[in-house]
Structures are given as C-alpha cells and as structure tokens.
C-alpha cells in the first residue's frame, strides 16, 4: 500500500501546501510518494525530495503538462494509480480542478476538503459552510482526497528521497492554456499567512480599500483578504475572497474591518487563533466570534491603529 501526493508549485517554487498534504498523507500509515508535474518540475523536485517522510518523488515535465490542465493531469495520474491506494492533493483551485476528474475515472467518490483522517477509510470534512462536521467511511477500493491546508501542520524538510522521471502524457488535449493574469504582491500569500487583514463592503471603493487596509497589513506584515461583497464590488481582486466559496485561512491574527460576519465569511476564518473586528454596528455578527471587538468608524479607527502599532 502507498499514497500518492500531487505537489502544488508555482513559478519554480514548491508551495507550502504540499508539506501539509504530505502530513495528511502520512496519516494513512504507509509509504508516501510525491508527484511533481508541470512547468519547472525538474527544478521543484529536489525540494519535494527533502520533505520528511517521503519515499520517492516522481517528476513529469512536458508541453502537455505545462499549466497542469485537468485533462492532462488526469491522463498522467490515472495510470499511476495502479500502484497506489490513495491520492491526496491540496484543496486549492488547482487541486479542486484536477482531483474529481481522477476520482471519476477511477469510479471513486471523492472526499473534498478533508480536515481529519481518522483511519485509512474514515475521514472528517466540513459541510454547510462549516456549520456541520461530517464523519464518513468510504467503501471505495481507492481513495481520492483534497485536504484543507489549515488542518494539517507542514511536514519537515530533512528527507532525502530519490527522484525518478516519468513521461508526460502525449497530447493533444481538448483544452488549451491561453493566458494568465496574476496579481503581483510582496505581501505573504493569503492561505498560509500568519496574519491576515481583511476588508469588507464598508470600504466603499478600491482606492479606500488600498488607503485604509494596505498600511495596516504592511505594518503587521499581514496578507490582505476581503469579503465577497468587497470582491464583487471590485475593491479587491477575486483571489482575496475569504470564505465558504473562497479561501480558508486560520492565521494567528485575523483582523476583520467593515465586515458584517455572514456565515459564508465566517466559514473561511473562524478557526483563526485571535480575531479582531472593527465595525460601527455593535450588533454585527462578526462580534460573536471576535476575541477583541471595537465598535467604531473604520475610517477613523484603522489609521489610528496603524499609527499606534
């Protein structure tokens, strides 16, 4: 028995999410191999080989895999699954795009956003925006999981696994990568950040969002997040959205500014260690989960806070 982890990597760097997925995979109590596929796989594989507990790294690079499109990843991974009893991948947009295709091809019911692995066939996952925790037993012969990064600690980096190259699948595939528009930022990456400052609809404009939220985030060395309302209104980019249908975060400090605290938002941040809320409405539901609540006008309070830190 062995488990395959599909590595997440960007621009030639292994993502921290991968170390967390390895921790989850090791809970199966068997050998864990890591597949690094796509652009720069050769450069990333050595970092994957250093993850503590990894037996072997498979590396696949080639034109068809360049952007890890789901169609090509399915063609690569499904044949490999003859050697594995489970495949585990981070519940990121990449993982969510790929995993169900593999599951369907294996005739397996996938387990999404797993937060605990109780044994090799029993798993916990949140449902209904995290308002209920489901424990399920899978009767499928093989398991396909996406796992939530905030629920598993990152594995160490004192391993020395062997790296083996495997062939990229031959194309062409019916989907073709055209372009991407990535948001450039020097701030920490939202999903793994130790501190997060999020703004909501109350900011009123993209300019005010920048003027009020960014200096506080920079003072704290924090990543910036947003509510859906702020993203929908164009105050912040899409991938800043924290919540049930956006990113799940669990930093040491989460500062919610001008955010009411709808269940869909809470789903993405209520596992944060310390929550600070600034809202002018003392009845706002965000205060029900906040460790420190300040009832105030954010346009006055936030610059004051930034100065005081």
């Amino acid at each position: 028995m062995a488990v395959l982890v599909i590595a997440e990597h960007h621009h030639g760097a292994l993502a921290d999410a991968t170390h967390k997925v390895v921790t989850a995979a090791l809970k199966f109590g068997v050998d864990v191999d890591v597949l690094v596929a796509g652009e720069n796989a050769g450069a990333v594989a050595p970092a994957a080989a250093k993850i503590t507990g990894v037996r072997k790294v498979l590396q696949a690079e080639g034109e068809t895999l360049r952007k890890q499109t789901a169609e090509a990843m399915e063609a690569l991974v499904v044949p490999l699954m003859a050697n594995y009893d489970a495949v585990v991948i981070a519940a990121t947009t990449t993982g969510k795009n790929i995993a169900p295709r593999i599951a369907a091809k294996l005739d397996v019911m996938q387990l999404s956003e797993v937060t605990a692995i109780l044994d090799a066939s029993t798993f916990e996952r949140p449902i209904y925006a995290g308002n209920a925790i489901l424990t399920v037993k899978s009767s499928d012969a093989k398991k396909v999981l996406t796992v939530r990064g905030t629920s598993f600690a990152a594995a160490g980096t004192d391993g020395s696994a062997a790296v083996e190259s495997i062939a990229a699948p031959a194309g062409p595939f019916k989907s073709e990568f055209i372009s991407e528009e990535m948001v450039k930022s020097d701030r920490p990456e939202l999903a793994g950040a130790k501190r997060v400052v999020s703004g909501g609809r109350a900011l009123g404009s993209a300019d005010e969002f920048k003027r009020v939220i960014f200096p506080l985030a920079d003072k704290l060395g924090a990543a910036v997040g947003a509510s859906r309302a702020a993203v929908d209104a164009g105050y912040a980019p899409n991938d800043y959205q924290v919540g049930q249908t956006g990113k799940i975060v669990a930093p040491e400090l989460y500062v919610a500014i001008g955010i009411s605290g709808a269940i869909q938002h809470l789903a993405g941040m209520k596992d944060s260690k310390v929550i600070v809320a600034i809202n002018k409405d003392e009845e706002a539901p965000i205060f029900q989960v906040a460790d420190y609540g300040l009832v105030a006008d954010l346009f006055k309070a936030v610059p004051e806070l930034t100065d005081a830190l």
Partner: protein, 248 residues
C-alpha cells in the same frame, strides 16, 4: 447550440443549519429550500447566451425529490426552455449525479453543460469535473468570463493568484464562479409562462445508473463553538490588549 444546466435544490443560503441531536445529519424539516446560488448564475449565463443568439435551446435538469420540480420551474421562469426531473428521495452523491448527467448528455447531445462550481450543502465542488471526465470532455471550472470564440469556448477562470484563460473545444463542461454574472429575478409574466413549460419526469432506474452511496455517514456533529470575547473601548485599549496578549 444547445445548453444543459443542472440545478440542485439546497437549503437556502440564509438559513442557519442545525445538526440533529442524534448526529445523523442536519435538520431539513420546515427549512426554506432554494436553488443552489451558483446554479442561478449558470441559468443566467445560459439565458444570456440565448439572448445573444449563440444558443437556441436551454434544458434544465435536476436530480432530487418531487419538490426539485419547483427549482426547475424557477430556472424555466428565468428563461430555460424545458426541464427534466430525475426523481429520487435518496441522497445522491456527486459521482452518481455525474453518471446520471452523463446519460442525459448522451440523450440530449448538448454543446455545453453549465454547472455550479459548488453546491452549498455538501460543499463538494466535484460534479462538473467528474462529468467532464466521464464524457472525456474538456472543462473550464470556476468561470469568471465565457466567450464563444469560433468553434471554441474561451473560459477565464478564477484561480489562486488571479485569473487564467483556457480555450476548450466543444462540446465542453463549464462550472461557474460568483463573478460571472448577476442572476435576474424572474418576472411575473415569465413565472406564469414557465408553468406551461414541459418537465419530463424520470427515475435513476430509467437511466440504468446505480446510485447507491459509496460513503457511509458515521456521524454529523456541531463544529466547536467560538465564544465571543470582549469589546474594547478604543484603539488605545485594543493595542494594549494585543500587546499584553503577545499578539503584536
């Protein structure tokens, strides 16, 4: 072109769900049910494609109990042409939903199937991708923007870090994200008209699909409750609390 739009009847997004004391599931008795919000976005997109002359027919399909017919009617009132209800009182997992939808696709031969990215009850985010794999079709998930581009479909996707655009050969699967459009409310005349639109009733057995679950529920529990902390007087008090607690 023809579009198929699968819609799911789910607990309304405003309802605070309650876990049953016997831990077998959540309490669905007497709670408001609605169309999955992402599916409203799918229906809206299909209707806009039809209004633009790109699409000629929109078929709505739902798998669920008799009441799922109301969800189909809502989609028909928004602009769908006809519906298919695959009636079952069983809980149908995404894999089985995808298998049923694959059979509907074989019968209906749509050029595009537009699904929601995620059902807000099971939060699975699987069905569209699974359907794409079963059909060996390309997929454009988490769609932010859709453009017909000659004989291809250009899909701009919401991904971690920004936006990504892919070009899909048709037929194709699309799953929609929140920013694709803002769904309309059905007008009263359209609600009246929708009452006359045809809804075919089928059963999973009609399609020869085994829907027995692969997952057994061990238990459903309440998440740990987070207690409200304290209100602070002003910014100075907040800073001093954070410093004392060693947070900043």
């Amino acid at each position: 072109m023809k579009v198929l739009v699968p819609v799911k009847r789910v607990i309304d997004y405003n309802v605070k769900v309650r876990v049953k004391p016997d831990k077998t599931g959540v309490d669905l008795a007497n709670v408001k049910m609605s169309m999955n919000p992402f599916d409203e976005i799918s229906v809206e997109e299909a209707v806009r494609l039809k209004e633009a002359g790109t699409v000629t027919e929109i078929v709505i399909v739902s798998i669920g109990p008799q009441q799922a017919q109301e969800t189909i009617r809502t989609a028909l009132a928004m602009g769908g042409d006809r519906g298919i209800l695959i009636k079952t009182d069983e809980l149908v997992e995404p894999l089985a939903v995808a298998k049923l939808l694959a059979k509907v696709v074989a019968e209906e031969s749509p050029d595009i199937v537009i699904l929601g990215k995620q059902a807000i009850d099971d939060d699975s985010n699987q069905t569209g991708q699974m359907l794409a794999a079963l059909l060996d079709w390309p997929q454009g998930t988490f769609a932010y923007k859709l453009d017909k581009d000659g004989d291809k479909l250009k899909v701009t996707r919401e991904v971690d870090g920004g936006l990504q655009t892919v070009s899909l050969s048709l037929p194709a699967i699309v799953t929609v994200d929140l920013r694709l459009n803002e769904p309309r409310y059905a007008s009263l005349p359209n609600i009246m008209k929708a009452k006359k639109k045809e809804i075919a009733e089928k059963s999973p057995a009609d399609y020869g699909v085994d829907i027995s679950p692969r997952l057994t529920v061990v238990q459903v529990t309440e998440p740990p409750v987070r207690k409200a902390g304290e209100k602070v007087e002003d910014v100075a008090a907040l800073v001093s609390k954070l410093k004392t607690a060693g947070i900043v």
